[in-house]
């Protein structure tokens, strides 16, 4: 997913201003001109400078692109900077891969929210099955691979490395 440099620059500038404003609330060490807010402020100023240059470059790329498009009428103008505001990747044109792309963050957020109550094993099997199936395995083999991988992970991390993976619903059986 490509953005025009100007948009990225704008986002950086807004972020940096908010960051500096927030840093200004930090207490300073008494008797010293610098404190916890010094570094965030320097970083923020740097980001603002870079953001402004990016905005300039993005706008210039756009205007150059427009001029070239007018003069040559050709559609294939190679430009290093992205002349369009937002250029969606290939995945956005295909509904199946669009769903897949959203699926990864959605599944991970689901895991983050639910792992304590539902537990690692059921969630892992579910996440793996869904993803494997969406990426082109058959339903049965997805389920089988998911179960095997989950058990291996459970064995490896919970039994060998002693990571307390959440038991959740299976607590009575896993102890």
């Amino acid at each position: 997913m490509g953005f025009n440099d100007a948009l990225i620059g704008l986002a950086l500038v807004i972020f940096a201003i908010a960051e500096i404003a927030y840093s200004a609330t930090f207490p300073s060490l008494h008797g010293q001109a610098y404190g916890p807010s010094l570094f965030p402020t320097i970083i923020g100023c740097g980001l603002i400078a870079c953001g402004l240059v990016l905005i300039f470059r993005g706008l210039r790329a756009r205007s150059q692109h427009a001029r070239l498009a007018q003069s040559t009428q050709s559609e294939s103008i190679e430009s290093l900077d992205n002349p369009v505001w937002v250029q969606l990747g290939q995945w956005a044109h295909n509904p199946a891969s669009r769903v897949n792309m959203l699926l990864v963050p959605v599944l991970l957020v689901a895991y983050i929210l639910l792992s304590d109550s539902i537990g690692f094993i059921p969630l892992s099997v579910a996440i793996l099955t869904v993803l494997l199936f969406r990426l082109g395995s058959s339903l049965l083999s997805s389920l089988l691979i998911a179960i095997v991988v989950t058990l291996v992970l459970q064995l490896l991390f919970a039994k060998v490395l002693l990571v307390p993976l959440p038991s959740g619903l299976l607590l009575p059986w896993l102890g």
Partner: protein, 482 residues
């Protein structure tokens, strides 16, 4: 070590899975090991992965890791000429030679530098951190401006959490886990593994068909090639090690530079690109030598030479060891162990790499659309394991999406990693220097080494600016005369 070797070969030879990702996936395990086996595992994995990246490069024209990208076309051209066995043999032997060469440089320079570095005070460290960060921006792939933005993002992330001088929580928004700071292991897993997962899902590759060519007698005729090009081997090794030592530039950049040098100084320049073995020798040596080179600044100063050593430094910190000259004094056995591991790993590359070449066809048949979800789940468990909280998974997800978006827009990721790792060191040393100097910034130039380093940093930043100004002035002049 054997297990991590096999793991490394496997990950490296699968296109799209990089050596850095292999290291990131390994961290959860190293977390539960002693320092030496942990380092051994990472070194072996990465050395294997960098070589194994050549295999799909030669067979499919898809580099398995970015470090193989420089000469992937060359190797594939050799395959088309029916010389696949020679191509893989050369890259295997050169990888081993390069690795040993780099290890030798590491073993020779690191202790000397450490003796020198023991006298460093917070001023020198502040400038060193600056130097490392500046190099990371200047040598990073893509535009310098975007490299700088990437660095600033990394530095910002490093400021999250309790501040060191005043103990004030910054950007934590009252969240106790944020106050502890962004632990960088989940951050690395996110930036290197999750972003790859996303990239695969965004553009699924078809499984490629593999050329049906027998790969036999991998080692035949190699003696002749190596002795014809022994100068190239040396040059590749030196370039690799030097580029590796520069912070922010790793094996991939070493391979590109070595390949370009090889082409420029070659007698048969026109043969390059048509399946000529010379560039393969140079670049194949350079990328493995770069791996060891990157450890020099990491061990001596605690400044990572590339993203892999950034991970290593993270692992060492977790184990309560602060890489730096004191480690050389207090735990010399650890440093020696690292050297030995490097030599062993690169020697073990020969037999193991040979087996990997023989098995390459089977490895390449592993369907990636099955691997990707498994890797994802692995990352989830790995990020969880560091602190046993889901906070790690959130960090991983956010950093993964950030890294994906950054790379899609031409922002290099390596400076961010260095920013996260070095940010604390930079601020720490700056603050303690300032307190020592009573707010006088000139004190930063009062010690000779500090002054030299400081001037170097300033030069790195002003030279490109000056050149830019000069060329634009010259441009104005020519426009006037025309």
């Amino acid at each position: 070590m054997l297990a991590s070797a096999i793991f490394g070969l496997f990950v490296g030879s699968i296109p799209g899975l990089t050596a850095t990702m292999a290291a990131a996936l390994l961290i959860p395990f190293t977390f539960f090991m002693d320092p030496v086996p942990a380092i051994a595992a990472i070194v072996t994995t990465v050395a294997m992965a960098i070589f194994a990246g050549d295999i799909p490069g030669a067979l499919l024209r898809i580099p398995g890791t970015p470090a193989s990208a420089a000469y992937c076309d060359e190797a594939y051209a050799m395959t088309r000429k029916g010389k696949v066995a020679t191509a893989l043999g050369v890259s295997l032997v050169c990888a081993a030679i390069g690795g040993v060469f780099g290890s030798a440089i590491l073993a020779m320079t690191a202790p000397v530098l450490a003796e020198f570095a023991i006298k460093f005070s917070s001023y020198e460290y502040f400038w060193l951190a600056c130097l490392g960060l500046s190099c990371a921006v200047v040598v990073s792939t893509g535009s310098t401006l975007k490299g700088l933005v990437s660095l600033l993002i990394g530095l910002f992330i490093s400021t999250i959490g309790i501040d060191i001088t005043a103990g004030h929580p910054r950007f934590a928004f009252g969240n106790p886990e944020m106050m502890g700071g962004i632990s960088f292991i989940p951050a690395m897993i996110g930036m290197f593994a999750i972003s790859e997962v996303l990239r695969f899902i965004a553009a699924p590759h078809k499984q490629e068909s593999i050329p049906q060519q027998p790969i036999k007698n991998v080692f035949r005729g190699l003696g002749g090639i190596i002795s014809t090009y022994k100068l190239n081997v040396m040059r590749g090794g030196v370039i690799g090690a030097v580029v590796g030592i520069l912070p922010g530039a790793g094996s991939d950049i070493a391979a590109w530079i070595a390949y370009a040098m090889s082409k420029r100084f070659s007698k048969n320049r026109d043969k390059f690109g048509s399946g000529h073995v010379e560039g393969l020798v140079d670049a194949g040596t350079a990328n493995n030598a770069g791996l060891a080179g990157a450890w020099v600044p990491a061990l001596v100063f605690g400044i990572p030479g590339d993203s892999i050593t950034a991970i290593v430094i993270g692992v060492l910190y977790m184990k309560g060891m602060n890489p730096g000259p004191t480690v050389f004094m207090q735990q010399p056995e650890l440093i020696h162990a690292v050297f030995i591991v490097f030599f062993l790993a690169n020697l073990a590359l020969l037999p193991l790499g040979f087996i990997a070449i023989r098995l390459s066809r089977t490895i390449l048949l592993v369907p990636r659309h099955v691997l990707i979800p498994i890797i994802l789940m692995f990352c989830v468990v790995g990020s969880f394991a560091i602190n046993n909280t889901v906070f790690g998974i959130s960090v991983m997800l956010i950093m993964g999406i950030l890294a994906y978006l950054m790379e899609e827009n031409g922002f290099p990721v390596a400076p961010t990693i260095l920013g996260i790792v070095l940010g604390t060191m930079l601020e720490d040393n700056f603050m303690s220097s300032m307190i020592k100097a009573d707010g006088q910034f000139t004190e930063f130039f009062s010690r000779p080494i500090a002054a030299v380093l400081g001037v170097l940093v300033i030069l790195i930043w002003t030279l490109p600016l000056l050149r830019f100004l000069l060329s634009s002035i010259r441009g104005e002049k020519t426009r006037f005369t025309n």
